[in-house]
Symmetry: C2
DNA sequence: CGAATAGTTGACTAACGTCAATACTAGTGG
DNA sequence: CCACTAGTATTGACGTTAGTCAACTATTCG
C-alpha cells in the first residue's frame, strides 16, 4: 500500500509555504530560514482522501503540508470520526507528535497533496542549536492550539449556523495569510460529511445550514469554490474575531538575538 | 518511581508540583530542575472565583498553579462563557500566552489557589540556553493541546453522559498523576454551571446527567468530594483511553545530552 | 439567622439527529 | 457520445437530545 503511493515526485522546493510563512513572521533570520529549508529536501505527492499516518508508520518523521488540503482526525471505537483540524499549505502535520514521541491523531489528505518530510532528529538538532528556530517551531504548535481552542468555543457555545460560518471565516483568513484566497473566493473542497465530522454535526444538518447561509446571501458555493458575499456580515453572524489567528510579534526579550554567549 | 536517582532533590523538599511533575517525567537533569526551581521564587494566594488575568495585567509573566483548581476561559460578546481547560496543580496557566506574546484566554481560580510567578524573560532565557528545558516546556504546552483535542472529540462526538464521564476520568487521571486522587475519591469543587460551561451544556442538563451517573452507580458525589464507584465501567461508558494523557519518553535523540558543543 | 449561591425537578420548546427517498455530479468504460 | 456507477447533495417526516423557564429546596457564608 505504502510504496505505490510514494512514487516520490522529488522537487527542488524553493517555494515551500512554511518557509514563506516563517519569513513573513519575521521571527527568523535569513540564515535560520536557510537552515530550515535545508532540512525540507524530500517531498512527495499523496492522492485525495488518503490516510497519511498509516502510509508512513514512522512517527519519527515530521511532515509539512506543501500543497492541498488535509485534516487531522481521530476515529472512536464506535466508528465515528472526529476531525480535529484542517491543515493548509505551510502547516505542520505532526510536529507535536514528534515532540511528544507519540502518533496520536491520524492525518488524511482531503485533496491531492504535496507533502514535505524531514526527520525529527534533524528538526530537533536545529531547534537545540538555534533557539530562534526552537521558538518559531514552538509558536507554530501554539498557533494550532489557538485554533483548536477556538473550535472548542465554537462547539460549546455556538449553534450550527454561526459555527459553520465561523469555520468559513477561519479558513478564509488562514488562506488569505498564505495568498490562497482571492477576493472572488477560495477553494472549499470539503464534503458535507467532512464538515460535519469537524463541527460535530450530521452531514444532513450541515447541508441545511449551508443552505441557510446561501439563502441569506452570506456565501455562495458553486463547484468547490466558495465565495463570501458579505464578509462583515458573515463575521458578525459567526462572532468571528481574527485576533486569535494573528501571530503577534514577540516582545523583544523573547527573541534572544544575542544567543551564543552562554 | 525514579526516587533513588533524584533523592538529593527530594530531600531538599521540592514543594512545587511543577518541578515534581517534571522530575517524574525524567526529561530533565537535577541541574535543570534546580535552574527552573530557582526561577519560581514568588508565590501568592488567590481566593476562589477570582479572575487571575485581571489581577495581574502583565502578560509578560508566567504563572504556575501550585495549589488549588483554576480554569482557562473566554467570554463571548453575548456573555456566554466557554471554559477551555481546567488547571490543576503543576499546570502552567499562561505559558503559551507568554510565548505568543498575547493574553488570549482569561484565567480564573475555581478554589482558593496558590500561584507561582516568574517573568517570561527568565523562562525564555532558560529555554534559550538549555534545550532540555526548552523541550520540557514545549512538551508541557503540547500536553495541554492533547487535552484540548480530546475535549474537541468529546464535544463533537459524545453525548452529554459520556462527555461528562470522560471529563471525570480525565480529572481523575490527572489528579492521580500528581498524587491528589486517593482510592476513595478526589476533590471535585466545580459548580454545575462551571461544568456546563466546560462541556457546552446547560447547568440544568449537567444536573440531570450527574443524577444519571449517580443512579447508575458509576460515581457518588457528596460535598465536593467525588468517588468513582466503578472505574472500568465509567471508563467504558465514557469511551476513555488514558493514552492521550500519558507523557511518553521521547526517543533518545530528542534529549540532546551533548548540548554545549554548538 | 438571613441572604446569596448552588442544586433539583417538571413542563415545555428548540435544535439537531436519523432514516429514507430522490437528485445531482464526476469519473469510468463502452 | 452515452450509459453506468459511486459518491455526494438535497429534501421531508419524524424522533431524540438538550435548552429554557420557572418554581422550589439545599447549602454556604457572613
Amino acid at each position: 500500500m505504502a510504496s505505490s503511493i510514494f512514487s516520490s515526485i522529488e522537487r527542488s522546493g524553493v517555494s515551500n509555504p512554511l518557509i514563506r510563512k516563517l519569513q513573513a513572521s519575521r521571527l527568523l533570520l535569513p540564515a535560520d530560514l536557510a537552515e530550515l529549508e535545508g532540512a525540507l529536501t524530500t517531498t512527495f505527492a499523496v492522492p485525495a482522501h488518503q490516510d497519511l499516518a498509516r502510509v508512513n508508520e514512522l512517527p519519527r518523521d515530521v511532515h509539512i503540508l506543501t500543497e492541498g488540503f488535509a485534516c487531522r482526525y481521530k476515529v472512536l471505537p464506535d466508528g465515528r470520526r472526529a476531525i480535529l483540524a484542517f491543515l493548509l499549505p505551510g502547516d505542520f502535520c505532526d510536529l507535536h507528535c514528534a515532540v511528544l514521541g507519540r502518533m496520536d491523531p491520524a492525518i488524511a489528505s482531503i485533496t491531492a497533496c504535496i507533502i514535505a518530510r524531514t526527520s525529527f532528529a534533524r528538526i530537533n538538532e536545529l531547534a537545540s542549536n538555534n533557539p530562534r528556530i526552537a521558538n518559531a517551531l514552538w509558536r507554530a504548535t501554539l498557533a494550532d492550539e489557538a485554533i483548536a481552542r477556538e473550535w472548542l468555543v465554537s462547539m460549546g457555545q455556538r449553534s450550527a449556523g454561526p459555527q459553520l460560518a465561523h469555520l468559513i471565516c477561519e479558513l478564509h483568513f488562514r488562506l488569505q495569510m498564505i495568498d490562497l484566497a482571492g477576493a472572488d473566493g477560495f477553494s472549499f473542497p470539503f464534503t458535507q460529511e467532512e464538515l460535519g465530522d469537524a463541527l460535530g454535526l450530521s452531514s444532513v444538518h450541515v447541508n441545511r445550514v449551508l443552505h441557510q447561509l446561501r439563502e441569506e446571501e452570506l456565501i455562495s458555493l458553486q463547484g468547490r469554490m466558495l465565495t463570501i458575499l458579505d464578509l462583515p456580515r458573515l463575521e458578525r453572524f459567526a462572532g468571528f474575531s481574527r485576533e486569535y489567528l494573528r501571530s503577534p510579534l514577540p516582545a523583544p526579550q523573547s527573541i534572544p538575538i544575542t544567543h551564543g554567549i552562554k
